[in-house]
């Protein structure tokens, strides 16, 4: 059955003129009309293909092809068509000479294959074919509408650069290049997607990143065989180490400064055309708990904020389950006066704590999801429904207890202290099995669940780097960027597992002070 389907697919492929020509690796024909007809056959029924005949210097017949809307027409008219069409007498013997003498466009490429012509047209370059010559040329005059650079809404900062990546690969590439002006910043381009032919860039720092790591990343990218790449999320799922893990093993960010800092620590960055999210690997679990701002604020504050995040990570994972466990199994843990209040508010509630917690948590997740999907105009409706109906009315009606509402609200807030949304989602999801465990085995269940999560985290790796490093395996001096955010004049070495080929990132002894001059 599968075989037959494959056959069907492949036979359909054969009948597609585009693939037929791509398979015909042959050069352009000598016959001008044959070339033109071929290209027009490939783009049959494509109403946006524009072709225009004209005469070079009033003598040689030529044809221009381009896709409407992808090309800078003004520039095409001024720098290509008008110099070529005006009468000139200078002799030229080939495409190369013609290009050198007459066309004032910087990006030009000679084409000798039909398949290349088709590729260039599709990616937005106008091409010109000439009568009597078996070669044409492509002009890099691509221009299309792009989104302006904005501050990424999911990764806002108080202090730090406010620019974010956009959907256009060229713009994103430029943003990285503007931050790292060294030629050591390498960008390998790989095309992924049978139909979308999406350019994907693998960026890394030569001399800092491990060569084997880059080779491995390149291999994994080249292995991908897919119809189209719409977002970097698709690439992420196809190259990660542990596909069944709830934890993301590649970091996605919209911020160029985050991408740059990871490049300088010996990691690689994958930019995908059409996605403002770039992928970074190899990362550890701590990367999901670090915000870019940590490195721009004063280190003491950053350290405290980091610890606040660690605590709230635990709260967002465990608070509902601890509440359920305490109410169900370990009521003696709560101080008596508090327990009396809690028991009083739970008196009228018809559900056991486990059901109550699940009910409220699922409602919260639904509110979050709805808030995300709702059209902006009705957004305020959700907050009214959420705050009044779920909170106030449900408590008044005796469906949920007030402490439960507090617990769920606190948990919800806690999950948004995790700077990376993809990391926070994993934690939010794991909350539910933890609640179930707490409802069946109490604190014992919570511990068993927690241990299982630790075992899982100890198992997974991101491109060969243990996910819990540098805490497990413990690397003493590297905890300077995990347990605390050491001041910049102490962050002299790169992380060991990604930056060991170029250990030092700055000169030692840069602690400012009187002995360094000044008055």
């Amino acid at each position: 059955m599968v075989k037959r389907r494959r056959k069907l697919v492949s036979s359909r492929k054969e009948s597609n003129p585009a693939t037929r020509i791509e398979k015909n690796k042959g050069a352009l024909y000598d016959d001008f009309d044959k070339n033109e007809n071929h290209i027009r056959a490939v783009y049959s029924e494509a109403s946006d293909l524009i072709f225009r005949h004209f005469y070079i210097a009033g003598k040689q017949k030529a044809v221009l092809f381009y896709l409407d809307g992808l090309v800078d027409i003004q520039e095409l008219d001024d720098s290509v068509l008008s110099p070529l069409m005006e009468e000139f007498t200078a002799e030229y013997s080939g495409v190369k000479e013609l290009l050198e003498k007459k066309i004032s466009v910087s990006g030009v490429k000679e084409l000798t294959k039909l398949s290349d012509c088709v590729k260039k047209i599709s990616s937005g370059c106008p091409i010109i074919l000439l009568e009597g010559w078996s070669s044409g040329f492509a002009l890099n005059l691509t221009k299309f509408e792009k989104r302006a650079i904005e501050e990424p809404p999911a990764e806002a900062v108080v202090r730090g650069p406010r620019e974010g990546f956009v959907e256009t690969l060229e713009v994103n590439r430029t943003m990285l290049r503007r931050k790292i002006k060294s030629p050591k910043l390498k960008m390998k381009e790989i095309e992924i997607g049978k139909y979308s032919a999406t350019p994907v860039i693998l960026a890394y720092m030569d001399g800092i990143a491990d060569e084997n790591l880059i080779k491995e990343a390149e291999n994994r990218l080249k292995r991908i065989d897919i119809d189209g790449v719409l977002d970097s999320g698709i690439i992420e799922e196809l190259i990660e180490d542990y596909p069944y893990s709830p934890f993301p093993q590649l970091l996605s960010t919209e911020r160029p400064d985050v991408a740059t800092s990871h490049l300088l620590e010996g990691r690689f960055v994958i930019l995908v055309d059409g996605s403002p999210f770039v992928l970074i690997a190899p990362v550890t679990i701590y990367s999901f708990l670090q915000a870019s701002e940590d490195y721009y604020n004063r280190f003491i504050i950053s350290t405290l904020i980091r610890w606040l995040r660690y605590v709230f990570l635990l709260i967002s994972l465990l608070l509902p389950s601890i509440y359920v466990a305490v109410i169900t199994f370990h009521a003696e843990m709560v101080p008596t006066s508090l327990m009396i209040g809690m028991a009083a508010s739970r008196e009228a509630i018809p559900f056991p704590a486990l059901i109550e917690a699940l009910l409220m948590e699922i409602t919260f997740e639904a509110l979050r999801e709805a808030g995300l999907r709702l059209p902006k105009q009705v957004g305020s409706a959700v907050s009214i429904v959420g705050a009044l109906v779920i909170g106030e009315a449900a408590v008044m009606a005796g469906i949920v207890s007030a402490p439960m509402v507090i617990v769920v609200a606190l948990t919800g807030i806690a999950s948004f202290t995790i700077p990376r949304y993809s990391g926070a989602s994993a934690i939010r999801m794991l909350r539910f099995p933890m609640i179930l465990l707490a409802g069946t085995l109490g604190l014992l269940g919570i511990m068993l669940g927690l241990i299982t999560i630790i075992i899982h985290l100890a198992t997974i790796r991101s491109f060969g780097v243990p996910f819990l490093s540098p805490m497990a395996p413990l690397m003493g001096s590297e905890t300077k960027d995990i347990l605390v955010r050491a001041p910049w004049w102490k962050l002299n070495t790169r992380p060991h597992l990604t930056g060991k080929y170029n250990k030092y990132r700055q000169a030692p002894g840069q602690k400012p002070g009187p002995k360094h001059g000044g008055d």
């Binding site: 843990m333 604190l443 014992l444 919570i446 068993l448 241990i451 075992i455 198992t459 497990a472 395996p473």
Partner: protein
């Protein structure tokens, strides 16, 4: 068979809960039974046994680098006696793990989950430990590295919270009946310290083997400190006479904690670290058992053995030990002697024979 490698410091993290997890809960009352107010002295004496077995294990590994005791016992005393000895080791560690799981389960059911069937408590912790062992020694090592620091921190906090209730005068009179009671009291703890012989199964997988001795001693020192801290806290709190009457004196001590009428009833916290510590202990011993069995049977992979042997451990701890009383009796009398033979005397003899044979050649 096992391709993963751990560092010497990871080995130290792994060995710490092996000894202390079950030790601090049941050892104090057994020690107090013999040594009374001198119970703090017993762990110090018993730790000498730890030094000895670490020395033996390191020496044996030096003579046969990259091999566990299951493999080099065959090289030292010949194929049939060696295999027989290997079987004794596997049997011992199976019993030890079953006993450890049972102590854990009795504690949890006795103090917290009176209605929950023993089988559920036993099998859930064994399942979790088996997951870790299946992940390989690296996973066990890293999990230990993540868990043990919290274990130590919480234990320290609990001891500090007790400070207000402590009465240091309970320590007197020191050595009123001579040294003998403390030595008797050290007999049971010595078997716990002798569990450091488990490094004989871990040393082949240690990357920086030259640091193994140092880190083993650090781990031993930390264990000794842990025992001293608990024994002294209990002695200061209850006195020697009372400590022996409790099954789990540490739990009863924690019940004393009451600060500002808010921080109180921290027993559940004891259970939480108890679970975490037992998990690491079971995972390490189970790893030794599984890898030893695979080597004993000349298998190419140990992973298929993880869950069956885990199940066997659970069965032994249910059927092999009929009650909590028997478990305590076993830990206090039979196990120390068994351990003395298997974890100290036999390895010592093996070492002597190995050295003689090497000299002979």
């Amino acid at each position: 068979m096992e391709t993963g490698k751990i560092s010497a410091s990871q080995m130290a993290f792994m060995m710490y809960p092996v000894v202390i997890a079950t030790g601090i809960v049941i050892i104090p009352s057994i020690t107090a039974n013999y040594a009374a107010q001198d119970m703090w002295l017993s762990p110090i004496l018993a730790s000498l046994m730890g030094v000895l077995v670490i020395f033996i294990a390191l020496k044996l590994h030096q003579l046969y680098p990259g091999h566990t005791i299951i493999e080099y016992s065959v090289s030292i005393i010949g194929k049939v006696p060696g295999k027989l000895l290997g079987f004794i080791y596997l049997y011992f560690y199976l019993l030890m793990n079953a006993g450890g799981t049972r102590i854990y389960a009795d504690f949890v059911t006795g103090a917290f989950f009176k209605e929950t069937p023993l089988f559920v408590i036993l099998s859930t912790i064994m399942l979790v430990s088996s997951f870790a062992v299946r992940g390989g020694i690296e996973v066990v090592g890293r999990s230990a590295e993540m868990i043990v620091p919290f274990y130590v921190i919480i234990l320290t906090i609990l001891c500090f919270l007790l400070v207000a209730d402590l009465n240091p005068k309970n320590i007197f009179p020191i050595l009123s009946d001579g040294l003998m009671p403390s030595i008797k009291g050290a007999y049971t703890p010595q078997s716990w310290f002798a569990e450091f012989f488990l490094i004989a199964f871990l040393l082949p997988y240690v990357k920086d083997i030259q640091k193994a001795g140092k880190w083993s001693m650090i781990s031993l020192g930390a264990v000794l400190l842990g025992f001293l801290a608990t024994n002294l806290s209990l002695l200061f709190l209850f006195g020697g006479e009372l400590t022996e009457r409790f099954n789990y004196p540490l739990l009863d001590a924690v019940r004393y904690i009451s600060i500002a009428e808010f921080i109180q009833h921290l027993e559940s916290l004891v259970m939480a670290i108890w679970v975490a510590g037992t998990f690491v202990k079971l995972a390490v011993v189970h790893f030794a058992l599984v890898i030893g069995t695979a080597q004993w049977l000349n298998l190419s992979d140990y992973k298929p053995l993880v869950f069956p042997l885990g199940f066997l451990t659970v069965l032994v701890s249910i059927w092999g030990i009929s009650s909590e009383m028997e478990s305590a009796h076993y830990s206090g009398t039979i196990f120390p002697s068994f351990s003395l033979v298997v974890q100290t005397i036999i390895p010592l003899l093996l070492l002597v024979i190995a050295i003689l044979r090497k000299k002979h050649h």
